[in-house]
């Protein structure tokens, strides 16, 4: 049987998941009754956020010109934090269906994903989706696709993933235009692990594309990268429901269980071969994703006695989640102010939010989170360098020659009229202009180099508000670069709070500090005493504020002897304080630890 392996790539919300569902239905893989919305997204959280977090591979059949084809397709995530997962999925394919919303046109992740596909030598089928909508402008969007990517506008397939219009034509095109899998270069087994998940019942489930040879249930496999061996206990294909199979043969895609206990046992990108008859060289893998954003998680309980057990509960939750998502890192951390917790690294801000939410939801722990920072490379006077993930770890300045920070290349697509404002925004964030190109009469693509630290928090929101929702962005890390960076310390009630310290550009330090102190002043409740707030660089105070002493909080009435009620009221207030942290004699709410994100612009 002929095989076609492909991914669907798109800017978020352009209809990738809906199109995948429609393809499943059109190929009769799924009955109407079973067609839940967005078949390929599995976790609740994904459904809620409308983001596909983990790739899944599904196998269906389609008949074209009297011949039956096996189509394997792989759903990919649609957010900038997860581009590495897109590139992983693409490695397992020969082709990609590039979906563009006919009411939105080409967007930043359309471009980023298409570049990934081109770089991976994939054949691309451009598809214009949502043509059922009144606002659809398929011709104009097809012209944009031609302008940006060079595909002839008339080659775009017009579809509605909602009504099913054009779906058969798309399936035909997949069979016709996508290349056959390349001929094997060896008879020995080589399978690319392009994804891995943790399943409570099965343990680790690896998603594998077979490039050479074949894999059978019971085979003893060797992971070429780690050298470790395992026995295959189960092979599954998804149609879309998991089905056990006896073997995965040449060019097929499916999942492999081999008694691996943790995701640490498998390296995504590794090559599977047979232990008794191993291949000589591994398939080309991919780079591990690098954690670029860091923050601390602490148990939120302020109860002294509870501290130890809350920390253990947090550790358990983190370890458990890590089985499912090996792309975040964690190590224990101790802070004077916040006690024991974990320093965690994430691929991006969204990734961080998702991890925190899953820890709270699935792990049942409640967390105080410190403001995220990027990693910095510190060049020391003795010629060595040091990577830090926490401003608190910055060595004594007398030893520091230079501080380097990660720089990204950012691509923004926006309407013409917003160009000026966006340039202003980028420049205010220390961006360096690269280029500006038309993609159509009304829209442009703007490229800047900009420090990651300047965009990790509210940049995206600012972009959205400046462009009234029409602007989109994508970024890639390009290098670390030196700048005039300083560490600002925040003192609450004269005590330095490391969890609130930050590294920022010297020229912005005063403005940032004032913004932070104002935020803190808002968020820290009045206490029974006045609380001075200060910002300092190397002991020199650069900004100050103060929180006046509380004057009155006594709830005056205690009526009819309803003592329980009064007690419950106070208990509830106390409960509210639980999510807060005690620093000396000052109680600081969780949000305050995010205050340092305020850019002051």
């Amino acid at each position: 049987m002929k095989i076609r392996n492909f991914s669907i790539i798109a800017h978020i919300d352009h209809g990738k998941s809906t199109l995948a569902d429609r393809l499943l239905q059109a190929t009769k893989a799924v009955s109407q009754r079973e067609a839940r919305a967005q078949m390929l997204d599995s976790m609740d959280l994904e459904r809620e956020r409308g983001i596909t977090i983990k790739a899944s591979a599904v196998t269906v059949r389609h008949t074209w010109k009297g011949e039956e084809y096996e189509l394997n397709f792989i759903d990919t995530p649609g957010h900038v934090d997860f581009t590495y997962e897109v590139s992983r999925a693409l490695k397992a394919c020969e082709g990609a269906v590039l979906v563009v919303d006919s009411t939105q046109g080409v967007q930043a992740q359309t471009v980023a994903n298409a570049y990934l596909a081109v770089a991976g030598d994939l054949t691309i089928i451009p598809v214009v989706n949502k043509i059922d909508l009144p606002a659809a402008a398929p011709e104009r969007v097809a012209m944009e696709i031609e302008q940006v990517f060079g595909f002839a506008a008339e080659d775009c397939i017009l579809v509605s993933a909602k009504t099913g219009q054009g779906i058969n034509e798309l399936l035909d095109a997949i069979c016709e235009k996508l290349p056959e899998p390349k001929a094997p270069t060896t008879t020995k087994l080589r399978g690319l692990v392009f994804d891995a998940k943790y399943d409570e019942y099965r343990g680790v489930v690896m998603y594998v594309r077979i490039f050479d040879g074949q894999l059978r249930q019971g085979d003893k496999i060797r992971m070429m990268g780690t050298g470790r061996t395992f026995s295959v206990t189960e092979l599954l294909r998804y149609t879309p429901f998991p089905q056990k199979v006896k073997e995965l043969s040449l060019s097929q895609v499916g999942s492999v269980c081999a008694g691996m206990k943790t995701l640490g046992d498998v390296r995504v990108g590794d090559t599977i071969t047979l232990d008794i008859d191993p291949a000589e060289t591994a398939l080309e893998g991919y780079e591990e994703p690098k954690q670029m954003v860091f923050c601390d998680f602490y148990p939120s309980s302020a109860d002294e006695q509870g501290k130890k057990s809350d920390f253990e509960a947090l550790r358990e939750a983190i370890e458990k989640l890590h089985l499912n998502d090996a792309s975040f890192t964690f190590e224990t951390q101790h802070s004077e102010a916040l006690g024991f917790g974990f320093r965690c690294g994430f691929l991006g801000l969204l990734h961080m939010d998702i991890v925190q939410e899953r820890l709270e939801r699935e792990g049942g722990v409640s967390i105080v989170q410190t403001a995220p920072t990027v990693s910095y490379i510190i060049d020391l006077n003795d010629g060595t360098e040091l990577e830090i993930h926490n401003p608190a770890d910055l060595p004594d300045l007398s030893r520091v020659k230079a501080i380097r920070e990660p720089i990204v290349r950012i691509e923004i697509i926006c309407p013409n009229e917003n160009i000026g404002d966006l340039m202003k925004l980028c420049e205010a964030r220390r961006g360096i202009f690269q280029s500006q190109e038309m993609i159509s009469e009304t829209r442009q693509i703007l490229k800047y180099e900009i420090p990651l630290a300047e965009i990790i928090y509210d940049f995206y929101d600012k972009l959205k508000s400046v462009t009234r929702g029409y602007g989109t962005m994508d970024y890639q890390i390009i290098c670390y670069r030196e700048d005039r960076l300083v560490k600002v310390q925040i003192l609450v009630n004269a005590e330095p709070v490391e969890a609130l310290s930050l590294i920022c550009h010297r020229d912005n330090a005063e403005q940032r500090s004032r913004a932070i102190l104002t935020k803190l002043k808002d968020q820290i409740d009045r206490h029974q005493f006045e609380i001075p707030l200060q910002a300092a660089i190397g002991g020199k105070i650069i900004a100050r504020e103060s929180i006046k002493a509380m004057r009155k909080n006594v709830t005056a009435k205690c009526y009819g002897g309803d003592v329980s009620r009064k007690r419950k009221l106070l208990e509830k207030q106390k409960e509210g304080k639980k999510r807060m942290k005690q620093i000396g004699s000052v109680t600081i709410p969780q949000e305050a630890f995010m205050a340092i994100l305020d850019q002051g612009d």
């Binding site: 002294e304 004057r551 009155k552 909080n553 009526y559 009819g560 003592v563």
Partner: protein
């Protein structure tokens, strides 16, 4: 806290008659009784007491049922009771003959100590010569008058309908009938109110020569129309500084007028403290009568169902949905919570005894030490109490003592 498990029905726990707890209540030593009359003329917008606009058709049934409950509860009163407090709602909204039947019935059903303190809450508009006569002839020794404010505009803010002049008239009638002891309830920090208005309220209240004053800072209780208005931005909370100033002004003015500030919100001429309220604050026991009334005895705190019809239909013991048997920490916490509301505070031996027990003793000691260090608490003639400035922020300390 160890709430007594109640069978679950649907979501809300099923109500059970208080008599189910009689084995435990055998150890009860109540010294007072609270009776709740749930009828009002109009529902004030800040009010979250269990009360509703009276349709007059259930007054008779209410009094019958209350007396039935009193008769049943009399088994708990092994010693004569020293205080009765009839609250609401608006007890004086009962028709004269129903009010009389209720008071005489309570006198008859329960054992009373000589010189027992009998307080009835009154709404100024409802006090007539007849009502005053009923109260006096039934042995009521004290009336608590809900004046709240003498400023028509501020009464309107609260959606409270009475003519400020009716307060003086009501006080006159009560005095003429021979009721000697009088409390006036006032509320400060009403939205838009000024210091001058509050000073005037205090002056007008003092002009009526009460022996007791309760001055409450307005609370925006969840579920009330006033709270909804606050959340919708229709009213603004008074500035904290001004509210604190009003409280301090109250303390100064009333001290000068010869009142003893004996509880956070209560002032009395020497010897005129409300004995019934002292029972609450000194961790005493009392029985509860009427819908939504709370009781405390034999280590249990309970609250009668707050649904008139349900209470009417199930007797003689009230159905209860909430009964708590506090564990040691719970009891210690409450003892502090109540005892420290008294400005004289708590006796040193009692404080030490309480701090010697309970799983949270360390935290309690730390909270007290911190408050002492800040000057928010002090030791004074062998008692631990909030200092003058500490009173204002006492909730922050009290919740740490729970």
């Amino acid at each position: 806290m160890e709430p007594v498990p109640l069978p679950q029905a649907g979501g809300a726990p099923a109500a059970r008659p208080l008599s189910d707890w009689l084995p435990r209540l055998a150890a009860a030593r109540p010294r007072g009784a609270y009776a709740h009359v749930p009828f009002c003329f109009h529902k004030c917008h800040y009010c979250d007491f269990y009360s509703f606009v009276d349709t007059k058709d259930r007054q008779g049934a209410f009094v019958d049922r209350l007396l039935e409950e009193a008769r049943a509860a009399s088994v708990l009163a092994r010693e004569p009771l020293e205080t009765l407090f009839v609250g609401g709602g608006t007890p004086t909204l009962l028709a004269d003959h129903e009010l009389e039947r209720m008071l005489r019935g309570l006198r008859a059903m329960l054992p009373w100590a000589d010189g027992a303190e009998w307080t009835v809450e009154a709404n100024p508009e409802t006090v007539t010569e007849g009502k005053a006569a009923v109260l006096a002839s039934c042995g009521v020794t004290r009336v608590s008058m809900g004046a709240q404010s003498f400023q028509p505009a501020l009464l309107r803010q609260l959606e409270r309908h009475h003519d400020p002049a009716s307060v003086a008239r009501a006080v006159g009638l009560l005095r003429a009938a021979g009721i000697a002891r009088l409390n006036i309830d006032l509320i400060f920090a009403i939205p838009t109110s000024t210091m001058a208005e509050w000073q005037d309220d205090l002056a007008q209240a003092l002009a009526l020569a009460p022996d007791h004053l309760s001055c409450y800072g307005l609370v925006y209780e969840p579920g009330t129309p006033l709270r909804a208005r606050l959340e919708a931005g229709g009213v603004e909370r008074l500035d904290e500084e001004l509210e604190a100033g009003m409280y301090e002004h109250t303390a100064a003015t009333l001290a000068a007028a010869g009142f003893h500030h004996y509880e956070i919100s209560n002032w009395a001429k020497p010897g005129e403290e409300c004995r019934h309220n002292l029972l609450y604050w000194e961790d005493g026991e009392w029985i509860a009568l009427g819908p939504s009334a709370s009781g405390h005895a034999a280590g249990l705190r309970w609250k009668n169902v707050a649904v008139l019809q349900e209470w009417l239909e199930h007797g003689p013991w009230s159905p209860v949905r909430s009964v708590e048997a506090l564990d040691e920490d719970g009891r210690i916490g409450e003892a502090f919570l109540m005892g420290l509301r008294l400005l004289d505070g708590m006796r040193e031996e009692r404080v030490r005894a309480l701090l010697d027990h309970g799983a949270r003793a360390t935290q309690r000691r730390a909270a007290i030490d911190a408050a002492l260090a800040r000057g928010d608490m002090e030791w004074s003639s062998g008692r631990l109490r909030f200092s003058e400035r500490g009173v204002l922020t006492s909730d922050s300390v009290l919740r740490e003592l729970l």
